[in-house]
């Protein structure tokens, strides 16, 4: 009986393993096919407008290993804008959302401005902010902050207002103070909404940092992209794009992992 069962389990395990390998094979084969087509198309096109993957790889490698470490330097420059702007946006966004979600007065006071800012294209603000702050990292950090703060605050607010009596009632019955209710119940109960807001904000921040590096002062990965473009170095243009794509994928994977491990508990 148990022998038959263990044989059946073993065969099921084998089937699942084969399925995983099959999927991997499909991905690898199509990727290789895609690269071959790109290579052929790249070699047949005027190098001013397009580059084959072999040239892109070579340019990427050169930029990575050149004595000035241009690519790495650009990446660090971009991160030095992205990280402070984004972290600040998360902290302020969650605080603002908690305040607006819990206090009707704060909601009515702040909601018009949040709505205006949330719906104004960030690029349109750049010239105004440029006049106020001048060209520099501070301005870029502020632009990233403005892009990311409102998705976080709006989502947090919605989450806070959505917190069910099923969470607040037991705590109130156990004589939680307003402060305990906010930090121990409302904040964790809103976490799925906050996580969704942060994910949305990350995408916006990543886009905005490149836009800022284009328009404010040429620097970072956006600057590298700009420089390669104005000097018609097609292959080099792909290097920052690859890094940005990798960053996007890595961040998305990290957030998805976090969601899976933490949000799993929220579904009953």
């Amino acid at each position: 009986m148990s022998d038959a069962l263990s044989i059946a389990i073993e065969s099921e395990r084998g089937r699942l393993r084969r399925l995983v390998w099959e999927h991997r094979l499909i991905v690898v084969v199509t990727l290789i096919a895609f690269l071959i087509v790109w290579e052929i198309a790249g070699r047949l096109t005027n190098p001013l407008f397009f580059a084959p993957p072999s040239a892109v790889a070579a340019a990427f490698w050169d930029a990575l290993l050149d004595p000035e470490a241009r690519l790495l330097h650009a990446l660090l420059e971009t991160l030095s804008i992205l990280v402070p702007g984004f972290v600040l946006a998360c902290v302020v966004g969650v605080a603002l959302g908690l305040l607006m979600g819990r206090s009707t007065l704060a909601y009515h006071l702040l909601d018009p401005y949040v709505t205006i800012f949330y719906n104004t294209p960030r690029v349109a603000l750049i010239p105004i902010l440029l006049l106020w702050m001048g060209v520099g990292d501070l301005l870029k950090i502020v632009i990233v902050f403005l892009a990311a703060v409102f998705p976080v605050s709006v989502n947090t607010m919605v989450g806070v207002r959505d917190v069910s009596a099923q969470f607040t009632e037991p705590a109130r019955s156990m004589q939680a103070s307003e402060r305990q209710l906010l930090w121990q119940v409302v904040l964790p109960a809103s976490f799925p909404f906050i996580a969704a807001g942060i994910k949305l904000a990350l995408g916006r921040a990543l886009t905005t940092v490149i836009v800022a590096e284009f328009f404010v002062s040429v620097s970072g990965l956006g600057g590298l992209l700009h420089a390669a473009s104005t000097s018609y170095q097609m292959a080099l243009m792909f290097a920052p794009v690859i890094i940005l794509a990798a960053m996007g994928i890595a961040i998305d994977a990290a957030v998805t992992y976090l969601e899976r491990s933490l949000l799993r508990r929220y579904r009953s």
Partner: protein, 271 residues
């Protein structure tokens, strides 16, 4: 009737409550509780049954202090209740657990809010987790437990607070029939061991009679007490009590009362 020598543990006097609901263009007032008075002695187990909409859950929340009554007062040990307090705890129909907290941390929660030091609150929590038979599940999360186990965490949490009165709002209506019977017996054991005063809301007549010393039957619109039935079945009770003639008589009587009040309510709603 309450003897003068032994004042009531819990006294409910002329409680009234009206809820307002906004429809398209007007505001409608619904009288949920008409004029409720009830007295519960120390260590007594009182069940409250009634048709849905009779305000029994609202009454429970008013006793706990989660909802303010429009009129009347709730008195515990001679002191009027102004809000939730350490002398009362609620076991909710929906369990009321926090999904981001483990079993241990859920049971600790009330003690944490009170500011008890960590070692003390975990000692009390572990003790009560063992008491409800969940030893070994301390580090599980609510989503990993069955409905019956979740409600046992709910018990453990209210027991950890060591209240004098436990208010239970249809605690077993979200679990299956077999689990329900097991939980009923476990609750009676815990009650016997702790001598807590229990107000137990249910929509099951069978459960109300099986568990309680008294069954309070409520009617709807407005919520009011129709009758207060004394249950004098011997204790400790086991499932065998259900087959006795006395049990059948009490259950039949309560059921007739309920049917009568429901017919009256339906008749009063006719145009």
């Amino acid at each position: 009737m309450q003897a003068a020598a032994e004042p009531a543990k819990l006294l409910i006097e002329n409680i009234q409550k009206t809820f307002f609901r906004e429809t398209d263009d007007k505001i409608v007032g619904i009288r949920v509780l008409g004029d409720i008075s009830l007295s519960v002695s120390k260590g007594e187990f009182v069940s409250i049954i009634g048709p849905s909409g009779c305000g029994k859950s609202t009454l429970l929340r008013i006793i706990d202090g989660l909802i303010k009554a429009d009129g009347g007062r709730v008195v515990v040990d001679g002191v009027e209740v102004a809000g939730p307090g350490p002398d009362r705890a609620v076991v909710f129909q929906y369990f009321g657990l926090y999904p981001w907290r483990s079993v241990l941390r859920n049971v600790e929660f009330g003690l944490e809010l009170k500011g008890l030091p960590k070692h003390e609150r975990s000692r009390i929590a572990l003790e009560n987790i063992a008491r409800v038979g969940l030893r070994g599940f301390e580090n599980h999360f609510p989503h990993e437990l069955s409905g019956g186990m979740r409600q046992r965490v709910g018990f453990a949490r209210s027991l950890a607070l060591d209240p004098e009165i436990i208010l239970m709002d249809e605690p077993f209506s979200a679990v299956d029939e077999q689990t329900r019977e097991i939980l009923q017996e476990q609750l009676l054991d815990l009650w016997r061991a702790t001598r807590k005063t229990i107000v137990f809301i249910t929509h099951s007549i069978d459960e109300a009679v099986y568990m309680a010393d008294r069954v309070v039957v409520m009617g709807a619109r407005p919520g009011r007490i129709v009758e207060d039935i004394k249950v004098e079945l011997p204790r400790p009770r086991t499932a065998a009590v259900r087959t006795t003639a006395e049990f059948g008589k009490l259950r039949g009587y309560a059921w007739e009362l309920l049917k009568k009040t429901m017919r009256e309510t339906a008749a009063s709603e006719l145009p």
